[in-house]
């Protein structure tokens, strides 16, 4: 029976590179995917592109491709990634350049375009998903990208792409596309697409399903986390998947790691919306077949939504932050005094902040005073003051009020740090599918070597 082997080489933009090389060299893969776009990444990338038209793709694209292109090229492993971010075309050109510099065989590199809908939203009266008009953002609007489904990726594969580079596409679509291509699933085979979405969701965070972000010593022990292996999905024609990893790599694949990942960032398990399908994970079954081999089956699906979600990046505000540490006897009371001083100073000097937060790290910074109520006196603590402002100058004033505790605050404060920066935030809207036109552009690496 035909199987497709898909490896997941990155769960976020800054992820480790070695596990992907291990997958390419020893994973016996058909496809290697890299999921590298967090919610606001594309807005930040858009700003880079505004400064330099050749920029705006993933910062680690070059390093990753240099590391995996040779084994992938030699073994015929096709690569699918959203590392194009705000500039898939420039990313594809860069990959062509890298392939040529490495004297690799001729590779067909496809950029998928059409997710950038900023122009559409700027020319009409659109509102965000809370009903507020988008034009209120004025020049603070940075980017608008629709979550594309698998369709254009499938077409790129059908046209022979060895490497497919997208901007904003739904994470599971990176995995559904090769399954549709290999198995010939219909685009309205909702049950299979639902199961394919589950496969994509399980794989998209890479090491999170092989024991990464899982260990809790004494309760959940995981061996070899420093050489964590990334996952492989062995997918059958009906969409059933066996999750595994390269033999001898660190980490583990168990029913428990698969269950945690299945529910990661899911709301109603019976209605997980993607551009390809509304997937239903509510009756999934997870069975351990052998060490590091777990079978996941039983997802279904319903017809896909008529609109596509659009993620809008904008400059929301500025955040100023300062930190300072206190240690030894009386550390906590000195830290509290330091926070009181900063609070009084911010009031006295009329710093314009719409929101302020005073934390004592090691005491109440994570979950507030109620959940931290049973704590004992710590040996060392660190204070943190953070505030939201309308401009950079006010944010800097908040940060400075913490740093000036060096000469004006309680005894023994040390290790002050400060920062002030603008905050790129995202909000959402929805557009009808008919408004969004996708296309594929190929970048041939012309340097053919025998």
């Amino acid at each position: 029976m035909k199987q497709v082997r898909i490896g997941s080489g990155a769960g976020y933009s800054g992820d480790r590179i070695e596990p992907a090389v291990e997958l390419a060299e020893r994973g016996e893969l058909d496809y290697l995917i890299f999921e590298c776009l967090a919610e606001r990444t594309i807005a930040i990338a858009q700003r880079a592109k505004m400064k330099d038209p050749e920029a705006g793709y993933d910062p680690l694209l070059v390093d990753r491709m240099r590391a995996v292109l040779r084994p992938c090229s030699e073994k015929g492993i096709r690569i699918i990634t959203n590392m194009g971010a705000a500039n898939p075309l420039a990313a594809a050109a860069k990959v062509r350049e890298i392939a040529q510099s490495m004297n690799l065989r001729k590779l067909r590199i496809a950029a998928v375009l059409g997710d950038d809908v900023l122009g559409i939203l700027q020319t009409g009266d659109y509102t965000d998903d809370t009903g507020l008009p988008l034009n209120r953002l004025g020049n603070r609007l940075l980017s608008a990208n629709a979550y594309l489904g698998a369709q254009a990726l499938v077409e790129a594969l059908a046209q022979g792409a060895d490497i497919v580079i997208t901007g904003r596409a739904a994470d599971p679509s990176l995995v559904i596309a090769p399954l549709i291509h290999e198995f010939g699933w219909a685009m309205d085979d909702w049950h299979r697409l639902g199961q394919g979405t589950l496969v994509g969701h399980l794989l998209e965070c890479a090491g999170q399903i092989t024991g990464g972000y899982f260990a809790d010593p004494g309760y959940k022990d995981v061996a070899g986390l420093a050489r964590l292996g990334f996952p492989i999905g062995e997918v059958s024609e009906d969409g059933t998947v066996v999750i595994t990893k390269v033999q001898g790599s660190g980490g583990q694949v168990t029913a428990a790691t698969c269950k945690e990942q299945m529910l990661y960032e899911i709301h109603d398990p019976a209605a997980y919306f993607t551009p390809d399908v509304v997937a239903d994970f509510s009756a999934v079954e997870i069975v351990e077949l052998a060490p590091d081999r777990v079978r996941v089956s039983g997802a279904t699906g319903r017809p896909r939504p008529e609109t596509l979600k659009v993620s809008i990046g904008y400059i929301d505000s500025y955040i100023g932050e300062g930190q300072m540490s206190y240690a030894g006897p009386g550390a906590l009371v000195r830290a509290r005094l330091a926070l009181d001083i900063v609070a009084e100073r911010l009031k006295m000097t009329a710093v314009q902040a719409s929101e302020l937060r005073y934390d004592i790290l090691g005491v109440n910074a994570m979950h507030g005073d109620a959940l931290a109520a049973s704590h004992s006196e710590p040996y060392e603590v660190r204070i943190r003051v953070a505030g939201r402002t309308d401009n950079l100058r006010e944010a800097e004033r908040i940060a400075n009020e913490v740093e000036s505790l060096y000469t004006c605050g309680p005894a023994g404060g040390g290790g002050a740090t400060k920062s002030a920066k603008d905050i790129v935030a995202v909000l959402s809207t929805f557009l009808p599918r008919s408004e969004i036109k996708t296309s594929i552009q190929f970048e041939e690496s012309r340097h053919a070597v025998t």
Binding site: E260, I266, L361, H367, L371
Partner: protein
């Protein structure tokens, strides 16, 4: 006993919404989760953190519950002032809930 003794958990974020899974190590303990981890109890536990409603979804075939906590992330990861802007650590706060020992079968 603590919930931590019978279950594990992971938190995820979407905008200003946190979701926290609670998964029984042993599927036999799943009824305890269903009985003691009501949406109301979880809302009460996170009362200083969660401003919105708490919804609970049951996944008996894998012995897990999924909680969706609205307005839980001080505006969401992209604009929150919180140190843990994603709310990743909320899963550990969930596991500090108490489950009566007597019912442990």
């Amino acid at each position: 006993m603590l919930l931590r003794d019978i279950a594990h958990s992971r938190a995820g974020d979407k905008g200003n919404i946190s979701n926290i899974s609670v998964i029984a190590y042993d599927p036999k303990d799943y009824p305890l989760l269903e009985k003691y981890l009501t949406a109301e109890r979880v809302k009460e536990h996170f009362s200083q953190i969660v401003q919105g409603q708490v919804r609970r979804y049951a996944l008996p075939t894998i012995g897990a519950l999924n909680f969706v906590l609205e307005q839980a992330l001080t505006g969401g990861v992209t604009r929150s002032l919180a140190l843990d802007a994603h709310g990743k650590s909320l899963s550990s706060a969930m596991l500090s809930l108490d489950i009566p020992d007597a019912d442990k079968g």
